[in-house]
């Protein structure tokens, strides 16, 4: 559409079109945030945002048909299935909160998909099934394995992150696939959704050989309606594509706290995406003011309050030509010696206790590291039906005393139909550890329900802990267009706390596995026994013996022949 400016002088129709092009209703921003972690690892977070003032849910004449920056495949999905909000993420690895702090946008290992449908939808389950199939084709992932046996409908978690009045949880669906692998085949279609593809701008850095050789890799797509301006009188659709990656100090960094863009991504930046209205690189320099070395140096500094903490960033603006210097290539170099880290206030773990293949116990441990404030957390657990939970054994203890949750929602599982859903609102006392335990029994599956590699085990999806954590620094509730993308993902309602979501580890449990070679072995053994037993018996009853003279050797036969001719008696 940028080329339509040439039609400006020709005809009336073209003039209208050109004017429309001069006031585009969609814009694209990209940014990269680099944060050195205290263990020597480095955390890079890409965010690409497309904002479009349109209405996907219109039918007929006003139906959206001309796509510019917004990818057409996603736009058609939104209008066909009447989707209000869509969040999908693919993650490889587990985010270590204690070592790395909080991520900008959290995600559980494997694939996670949660969708809010519009309240005009009559058959939510049917739309959900078709949506998962269509997304599996778009992202080359096996999302078609999402069905009623692993979908839940949370009653209090996962409130919409975008605008909306209706919060009737009948229109929400949530599912995870902890076994889902992420590889280049998922990155390729994800990159193709960007306006500049992987040819210009920050997406040039995304080379799969470096991205997947990391401790943590997560790519996500978030679509939601947001406010267009401060007064919030109209809404626009926002598409955010995020990619979070943590490069390991030892395997990629060769043990030195010295990183550069080339070392991380094996590429340098040469230009910003021409379709982007802003393209920036932020480097977090809060932790290491003196012992930090950053080259090329930049005078631009920016302060942002993110995750309850005021951080300082060095900013590089890629839309300005002087960032690229003489060589027309931008390679950032970082070297630091500092070692400070803010201890995360909320942290959760989960593990399976017990022995044997019959029973077990799931323990979820939530830590509140705030020295004097208590705050509530909402814990959501979705356990597959083949781990039969005994809810009467559910205990919640904090500081070795019983802690009764103020809200419990439990939906029991139906075999082969739906999973368990347990949601609890727990008040965490300050500076404490809260433990939630529940016992379970493992079910025996039918032999066709086992995967081809059942001895690997079966996965249980991560628990989700959502909380409003009290913030040390006042968060800003004002919405400005210039806010960096990483601090404007979650809408802030009040200044004293920030919303955070923590995912626990997924569990891997062994179910009692039958011996699949057993039918073959049984048939062989039985047939052998029957053959030997019956055969011997049959021989005993029916076999008769006859004396059989062996044939005489050749010399004797010849001698007998001559004797017969002579008429002399034969030899024995």
């Amino acid at each position: 559409c940028c080329s339509c400016l040439e039609l400006f002088f020709v005809g009336e129709m073209e003039q209208k079109q050109a004017i429309w092009c001069l006031n585009p209703k969609d814009q694209f921003q990209e940014e990269l945030v680099i944060r050195p972690l205290h263990s020597g690892d480095i955390y890079a977070s890409f965010q690409f945002r497309t904002l479009w003032d349109t209405d996907f849910l219109q039918e007929g004449q006003k139906k959206v048909s001309h796509y510019r920056l917004f990818p057409k495949s996603l736009g058609q999905v939104l209008s066909k299935f009447s989707v209000q909000e869509l969040h999908i993420s693919f993650t490889q690895g587990f985010w270590r909160t204690m070592q790395w702090g909080q991520p900008f946008i959290p995600s559980p290992p494997g694939a996670e998909l949660w969708v809010w449908f519009h309240d005009t939808v009559s058959d939510v389950d049917g739309n959900w099934k078709e949506l998962t199939n269509v997304l599996s084709g778009i992202f080359c992932a096996s999302l078609n394995f999402i069905d009623m046996t692993n979908t839940v409908q949370p009653s209090a978690s996962f409130k919409p992150l975008g605008l909306g009045n209706a919060t009737d949880h009948r229109f929400l669906r949530y599912a995870t696939l902890p076994r889902e692998i992420v590889c280049t085949e998922n990155l390729t279609p994800w990159k193709k959704l960007l306006p500049c593809g992987s040819k210009a701008g920050l997406a040039v850095l995304m080379k799969s050989e470096k991205l997947f050789h990391s401790s943590f890799h997560s790519q996500a797509v978030h679509i939601r309606p947001i406010c267009q301006d401060e007064q919030c009188t109209s809404k626009a659709w926002e598409l955010r594509q995020t990619l979070n990656v943590v490069f390991d100090h030892y395997t990629s960094g060769q043990g030195k706290k010295e990183w550069s863009l080339f070392k991380m991504f094996s590429r340098t930046l040469t230009e910003a995406c021409p379709l982007a209205s802003s393209s920036k690189v932020y480097v977090d320099i809060t932790d290491n003011p003196e012992l930090f070395e950053l080259s090329p140096a930049t005078p631009l500094l920016s302060q942002a309050v993110v995750l309850g903490d005021r951080r300082t960033y060095s900013v590089y603006d890629l839309t300005r030509a002087e960032t690229f210097g003489q060589l027309r290539s931008f390679n950032l170099l970082l070297r630091w010696k500092g070692d400070n880290m803010l201890r995360p206030l909320l942290h959760a773990e989960r593990y399976v206790a017990g022995f044997g293949l019959q029973t077990g116990e799931i323990h979820t441990v939530i830590y509140n590291n705030h020295p004097y404030r208590a705050f509530p957390v909402l814990l959501m657990d979705s356990v597959p039906w083949y781990l039969q939970l005994y809810i009467h054994t559910l205990t919640v203890t904090s500081k070795s005393r019983d802690n009764k949750p103020s809200y419990i929602h439990y939906q029991p599982a139906k075999d082969r139909h739906r999973p368990h859903l347990l949601e609890m609102l727990i008040q965490l006392p300050p500076h404490s550890m809260t433990e939630v335990t529940v016992q379970f029994e493992r079910a025996l599956l039918k032999w066709t329900e086992y995967t081809p590699d059942p001895n690997h085990g079966f996965y249980v999806g991560s628990s989700v802990v959502s909380a409003l954590v009290p913030s040390m620094v006042a968060m800003s509730t004002n919405f400005t267009q210039d806010q960096p993308l990483f601090s404007s993902f979650v809408p802030v309602k009040e200044e004293s706390s920030y919303f955070v979501r923590v995912y626990t580890e997924p569990l891997l449990v062994n179910l009692p596995t039958p011996d699949f070679s057993m039918p073959y072995n049984v048939i062989c053994l039985t047939c052998t026994v029957v053959a030997v037993g019956y055969g011997s018996f049959y021989n005993l009853l029916t076999r008769t013996f006859q004396v059989d003279e062996p044939s005489p050797p050749l010399a004797k036969r010849l001698a007998n022949f001559i004797r017969r001719i002579r008429g002399v008696p034969l030899l024995a």
Binding site: N133, C140, P160, I181, S208, K235, L425
Partner: protein
């Protein structure tokens, strides 16, 4: 006499017609339609799971790479990989799958799109893709949308035996099922010509039972022989490729979209001296002579282009979208974001409707009724034994 005259006239007309048709056949228009196909598809399947079967994934990816290089786009390739080797935790170089030792050639590349992966590669899904009987919500990239002018290449690799091919160590497909699937495809006119290549042990047994027309088949070994793997890489720790596909890849690397190599060259790939097993082929069901079939008829997507010098008038341009009404006209109330964790609201949330149970009094009344009827029938004297 007039009868003879008529017959002679008829013969002359018929002979003229035949000469005319022959001329047409050899003109440009005739040549345009002689090869018979207008589009190309490829179905590439790796059926083995687990890290030590790395070579089967590498086999399939090397054929995928050749087929893409020669022009078949991703939308026309259905790639099925039963396990993930590239991002497997045992892979010392993630996001790569190598075919040559010393990591010379990465066949995984940067632009791969796998349509069926992991547990989705089953016999049922494979047969559904071939016959087109998929559920209505299956996305386009997972369908084989071929028609009666499509040339299809089907490549299978994995562990096999005499008459069967093993899928993921838990099920198998027999040669009769495969032959029937191809017959279904023929009856529904889902292919023009089909090339079937299989690289497994005793691969020739898989094409013995074919009976549909226009099929050509190649296998890496005869019945009773094993197909062998090529070379291990000590850094990765597993065998990288099978011998037959390794030499097939080397042969295909020489082919480019304009090359005139034909099927007879393909039959000569990997003789017994290199492969140890004897590759076999079957062409009796194929109508054309293999010497006249180009490699690019199946492995590439060569389109015959007709260049025109006439100008074409396009229709009127895209209508500009309807302008949004000015914001000052109507008083719109401001929208707000939803509270992410409304604690007070959650605590006082009404519980969702549970399943209907009969009221408690009903069950008590029912038991009382049963007891009363029992004692009425059998007499009141039993009552004192109960209470």
């Amino acid at each position: 006499m007039s009868h003879d005259f008529l017959q002679m006239h008829l013969k002359a007309v018929i002979s003229c017609l035949l000469i005319f048709l022959y001329k047409v056949h050899t003109t440009k228009a005739g040549q345009f339609f002689s090869s018979g196909h207008t589009n190309n598809w490829a179905v590439l399947v790796c059926t083995s799971r687990f890290w030590f079967n790395y070579r089967h994934v590498a086999n399939t990816l090397s054929v995928y790479r050749s087929v893409k290089r020669l022009g078949i786009p991703d939308s026309h390739i259905v790639l099925m990989l039963a396990d993930d080797m590239a991002c497997n935790y045992r892979n010392p170089k993630p996001a790569t799958v190598f075919s040559h030792k010393n990591m010379e050639l990465n066949v995984y590349g940067d632009d791969v799109e796998v349509d069926y992966r992991g547990y989705e590669v089953t016999v049922e899904n494979f047969l559904r893709v071939l016959t087109g009987r998929l559920p209505p919500s299956t996305p386009r990239s997972k369908r084989l949308l071929s028609d009666d002018r499509s040339n299809i290449l089907i490549y299978l690799t994995g562990h096999g035996g005499n008459g069967f091919l093993k899928f993921q160590d838990s099920e198998e497909i027999s040669n009769m099922e495969l032959a029937d699937a191809f017959e279904q495809m023929w009856q529904k006119r889902r292919y023009n010509e089909l090339l079937f290549i299989i690289d497994t042990c005793q691969g020739a047994s898989m094409y013995e039972r074919f009976y549909s027309p226009n099929l050509m088949a190649l296998a890496s070994s005869q019945v009773g022989e094993d197909s062998l793997s090529h070379q291990p890489d000590l850094a990765i720790g597993v065998h990288l490729m099978d011998k037959y596909t390794f030499y097939l890849l080397e042969f295909l690397e020489e082919v480019h979209p304009a090359s005139q190599a034909n099927m007879n060259d393909l039959f000569k790939v990997c003789p017994q001296s290199q492969c140890v097993s004897t590759p076999g082929h079957r062409t009796d069901l194929f109508q054309r002579d293999p010497g006249s079939v180009l490699i690019t008829d199946f492995f590439g997507s060569v389109r015959k282009v007709e260049i025109t010098k006439d100008t074409i008038n396009l229709t009127s341009p895209v209508e500009p979208p309807i302008q949004r009404s000015g914001s000052g006209d109507i008083q719109i109330e401001s929208l707000t974001y939803v509270d992410q964790l409304p604690v007070a609201e959650i605590i006082h949330q009404k519980p969702k409707q549970k399943d209907w149970h009969p009221p408690d009094g009903f069950i008590l009344g029912l038991w009382t009724l049963i007891l009363l009827v029992f004692f009425q029938t059998y007499g009141i004297k039993h009552l004192k034994h109960i209470f």
